[in-house]
């Protein structure tokens, strides 16, 4: 693997909040080990919203969990560095880690329904995190919790309620409020709104954006809805089968894809306006991580596959300023994928 691999970053060093370097995560299973995240590198700047998109199972959550070092037993970080504010969190001891969590980087999970402890009141769930990380008294904690609730438009009097007494959207906002409790510098959001209706989803994302502007934290945003991601993120990383296929500014990702997979993703979303035509999406099925081929991982589904793709691994390289792609097509100087003549594809 190339050591001097390009870092998918457009930031200068001082402005970087989080820098993931060659992250490899393995799942140790009884059927053998699988590398679910392979050589992933990206940076997130201060105040930036960085999106990770990709099919189910491509390793998005695994990356997110690794950034908080929350990965659970079968997952094992086998290589790489995760540098937060200049320190490699993979080298933290337990106490450092405890301090780092939530204070530096907080996390909002996919399902708010399940990420609040059903038997504790909100007050307790706010206070335990405040008490664990600050010197506040309980009284102060309750006050702070009240303020946080107001931030997400929930009345502070409801602090004594239990999670089940809130609606799905409110719960999601509650989790966000808890994530804001310690002014964390990075908030990781793993599909924070997938379970919600579009109207609620938009409200919440607007709220998050507004809070981001106010508090200036960075966001690692994960979803598989690319349309949404394009609206919400500054830059987007597209993952395929544990690897970053492409990193580019959000605006370009659909209009000017640098990787056949990105292009396929773009084509998988029928438009809301304009002419109706038959779309094909991406043929084939996602890669089985137990059967990783030599060469490019996307080869089996790629309409432009060439011999080299079956032989050589392709690293993430900068193909245009701020745009990175892991595709052999670029090596050969072919940049505009859309201009390529398409081969007929079977559904």
């Amino acid at each position: 693997m190339s050591v001097n691999q390009a870092n998918a970053s457009v930031h200068d060093k001082t402005d970087i909040q989080l820098s993931v370097r060659n992250l490899c995560v393995d799942y140790i299973t009884s059927n053998g080990d699988v590398r679910a995240v392979s050589n992933v590198s990206f940076d997130i700047g201060r105040g930036e919203v960085f999106g990770l998109a990709g099919e189910s199972g491509c390793g998005k959550s695994t990356v997110a969990f690794s950034v908080c070092r929350l990965h659970k037993p079968p997952a094992f970080i086998s290589a790489g560095e995760i540098i937060f504010n200049g320190k490699d969190i993979l080298k933290f001891d337990d106490e450092q880690l405890r301090q780092y969590r939530w204070k530096e980087s907080a996390m909002v999970f996919q399902s708010a329904m399940n990420s609040l402890n059903p038997v504790l009141t909100l007050e307790e769930q706010f206070c335990d995190v405040l008490l664990a990380h600050t010197n506040m008294t309980r009284q102060e904690c309750i006050k702070r919790a009240g303020q946080l609730l107001e931030v997400v438009d929930i009345h502070p009097s409801r602090l004594s309620d239990y999670p089940h007494q809130f609606s799905g959207g409110m719960r999601q906002r509650l989790v966000i409020a808890i994530a804001l409790a310690l002014n964390a510098k990075l908030i990781i959001m793993d599909e924070p709104t997938t379970a919600l209706d579009v109207v609620v989803q938009r409200e919440i994302l607007q709220k998050i954006y507004q809070l981001k502007e106010e508090f200036g934290f960075s966001i690692l945003f994960i979803t598989h809805d690319i349309s949404l991601m394009v609206e919400f993120c500054d830059r987007i990383g597209i993952m395929y089968a544990g690897e970053l296929a492409e990193v580019a500014p959000a605006k370009n990702i659909l209009t000017k894809p640098n990787h056949p997979y990105t292009e396929g993703l773009g084509n998988a979303f029928p438009p809301l306006h304009g002419e109706k035509k038959r779309l094909v999406g991406i043929p084939g099925t996602p890669l089985n991580l137990f059967e990783v081929p030599v060469g490019c991982r996307f080869q089996a589904r790629c309409p432009y596959v060439k011999d080299i793709c079956r032989k050589e691994y392709c690293t993430l390289t900068e193909v245009a300023p701020g745009e990175f792609s892991a595709c052999h097509l670029h090596k050969d100087g072919i940049v505009d994928i859309i201009a390529l003549e398409k081969q007929p594809v079977q559904g």
Binding site: Q206, E231, F232, L254, A268
Partner: protein
């Protein structure tokens, strides 16, 4: 709208569910209120709306999974209640089939794909000679793109991916040669990259003359697949009609809100929502009056809280239930 006769005609459908029932008191919620729509041969009707708005309920009533509280459902002009005897019920079941949301839950993990396809064939006597069975099954599997068919047939559901499982479900519907397919969010649990494959397959079936009801959260795919669309809100069909007409010129404030909320790469997260504001979704009961959206509507009027507006055809094949269009 096509001028041939509807295959399914739903008229003023009402469905109540008991809630918080105890021995002393029976409370009800109204899951469907005065809902009317038709299904036509070779056309798809998409039903969109937020969770709990009654989409699945209406499909399940048509499939005779639920009884109805009031209103009428006709199949080729006959009340579906007439299909209650063993024989006629089987006939009806043969015509009306469903595709479910959860590709994991809709196949029995303890049986092979072969079993899943053999049952409908045998049950509805599509195959009378057991020797023909494998051939017919392989044929179906090939038709839904599950090749090699023989190997797929021997697999268990957990050995297939989500998309493949939905294809098996579709094959199941093809097996009985159903006339109507009620697809309840068939792609919502599928990955973006395989979603289209399933949708295309459904489109092919529709083009082969099957009548389809497509329930979804995803307005973009609704537009992709369906000719007609209905928008539901809290048990009410608030706006319906030809799909592009409704989506390009949403007339009901709720439809407008929905359209402005749909993720769209051409928009920005900062764009404001239109037509309505955030708020609680009301619990509709048989006693509730007025328009269900009145609490969130930006253009709410007094009468909105007093009566439910009647449907109005504001353009050919474009109906809306809103006092703004009286």
């Amino acid at each position: 709208m096509s001028n041939n006769n509807p295959i399914i005609e739903v008229k003023n459908l009402v469905k109540d569910f008991p809630i918080n029932a105890n021995a002393l008191k029976k409370n009800h919620m109204r899951a469907l209120n005065d809902v009317s729509f038709n299904l036509y041969k070779g056309r798809a009707l998409a039903i969109v709306g937020e969770s709990g708005s009654g989409k699945s309920t209406s499909a399940k009533i048509i499939a005779k999974m639920y009884s109805r509280t009031a209103g009428m459902v006709k199949y080729h002009g006959r009340d579906i209640d007439e299909f209650n005897h063993k024989q006629s019920l089987m006939e009806y079941r043969e015509s009306v089939q469903m595709i479910f949301q959860d590709p994991f839950g809709s196949l029995n993990p303890t049986h092979t794909i072969f079993h899943h396809l053999a049952r409908p064939l045998l049950l509805h006597k599509k195959v009378t000679n057991k020797a023909d069975l494998p051939g017919r099954i392989y044929e179906l599997l090939e038709r839904v793109g599950l090749t090699p068919a023989k190997e797929t047939a021997e697999k268990f559901p957990h050995q297939l991916s989500g998309g493949q499982r939905q294809r098996v479900n579709i094959a199941r519907n093809l097996a009985v040669e159903a006339e109507i397919i009620l697809a309840d969010e068939p792609t919502s649990m599928l990955d973006v990259s395989i979603r289209l494959g399933v949708l295309n397959l459904m489109e092919d079936m529709k083009n082969d003359g099957i009548s389809m009801m497509y329930i979804t959260h995803d307005i973009a795919t609704a537009r992709y697949l369906a000719e007609d669309i209905g928008v539901m809100y809290v048990g009410h069909l608030v706006e319906w009609g030809e799909v592009d007409e409704v989506l390009q010129k949403p007339a009901h404030p709720y439809t407008q809100l929905l359209m402005s909320a749909v993720p769209n790469p051409e928009k920005s997260i900062h764009d404001n929502l239109e037509g309505g504001r955030k708020g609680e979704i009301p619990l509709w009961t048989p006693e509730s009056v007025g328009c269900p959206f009145s609490g969130r509507c930006l253009q709410v009027m007094d009468k909105c809280n007093q009566a439910l507006p009647e449907p109005k055809e504001i353009a050919p094949n474009h109906f809306v239930r809103c006092f703004l269009h009286e």
